[in-house]
């Protein structure tokens, strides 16, 4: 079970607990699968955070379970986005720091998932 912001909610995620408005009105029941429509409705009610089931089979590859593979994937992606930096120091520095921050972001999410 992990808590996510509604912005990160995706279709087919399963609610791990009831979503209540103002702690009382039931909007969506635990166990319901999210879809574009009910995500939109939650948004319209001002819901910002929900809890969903953790990926039951993380090793199936949605997020690489192997941290090295994960870091490599992030590095590859940013390498591609930046393209040839032509030794431009500024680009290199932006890319270096951005890579670190994005990796840290994934680690933080993992820590939340593990709880």
């Amino acid at each position: 079970m992990r808590e996510i912001t509604l912005v990160d909610a995706r279709s087919d995620m399963i609610l791990a607990s009831d979503v209540l408005h103002d702690h009382q009105k039931l909007l969506l029941r635990k166990g319901v699968a999210l879809n574009d429509k009910n995500i939109k409705i939650l948004k319209s009610w001002g819901i910002t955070r929900i809890t969903v089931n953790s990926d039951p089979h993380p090793e199936d590859g949605a997020t690489p379970a192997d941290p090295v593979a994960l870091i490599e994937a992030i590095e590859d992606r940013l390498n591609h986005k930046f393209g040839e930096t032509d030794g431009n120091e500024i680009h290199k520095e932006i890319q270096r720091v951005a890579t670190q921050i994005i990796i840290a972001r994934y680690h933080a999410q993992e820590a939340i998932d593990a709880q």
């Binding site: 819901i47 910002t48 393209g83 932006i94 720091v97 994005i102």
Partner: protein, 294 residues
Amino acid sequence: MHNNRLRAIVGRVEDLPTLPRTVLRITEIINNPKSSARDLAGVINDDQVLTARLLRLVNSSFYGFPQRIATVSFAIVLLGFDAIRNLLLTTSIFDLFNGADRELQVEREKLWDHSLGCAVAAKIIGEHLHFEKVEELFVCGLLHDLGKIVEMAYMPNDYARVRARVKANDELILLAEEEILGCNHADIGHLLAERWNLPAPVPDVILHHHTPVRAGEFMREAAAVHLADIFCRALEIGSGGDHRIPALHPPAWEILELKTNDIEALLHRLETEYHDICPFIQASTAISPSEREA
């Protein structure tokens, strides 16, 4: 850019919605150093949707105030003038991103995240460099890709071709737009900003956010937004519709007089502040249909 295509687009821009009066008044308040909390409360109280949003926000668990806050002026006292001012402008502009077209909804949301990220980044860069009006930079960042919303909402067929080309060639959206439309989102956004009489430097920054050296007296503001755009792409905050990071316009760096050593702290601040502001903005924009009709 000054070709028939752009003129044809101007024709279509004639059909675009006018900027809500409330937003105009909020921009006036932002631009007037003498404006007070009372002026702001006046604008909010005149607008039921804004009032509902603001009260919902301050009464949300995000703030967790123990007692119920019933008036706009009390909300302003609690949250502070700057926070509210920024919030209102942001959420009013958010409405413009909220079109009916379902197919483009995801893209529009990503563009919104990108825009909000750029607003935060531009403000952070401005603060770092001791710009006088950082709030203005926030607005510039928020609106820099306005032209893309116009394309999504009013030129869906052209925009579909632009998207297809970006995907096929994995190129910058700017290039695809120029090939297909004969102009780009900066030109289109600029037209609309002028039409809406948005205050300086917003229209110029929109027009030159990819080529800040051409922005004349607003070169520094344009360069800040240009760099903010690159920062958000690098940190993968939202998406402006392509998967490439454009090269930094070389004079931008000199205009800003930044040091390579500054980048690390700036990016870390962006990461923190963007994620802090996000739920805040979400809570304030979410509004049920009945309140909207009220």
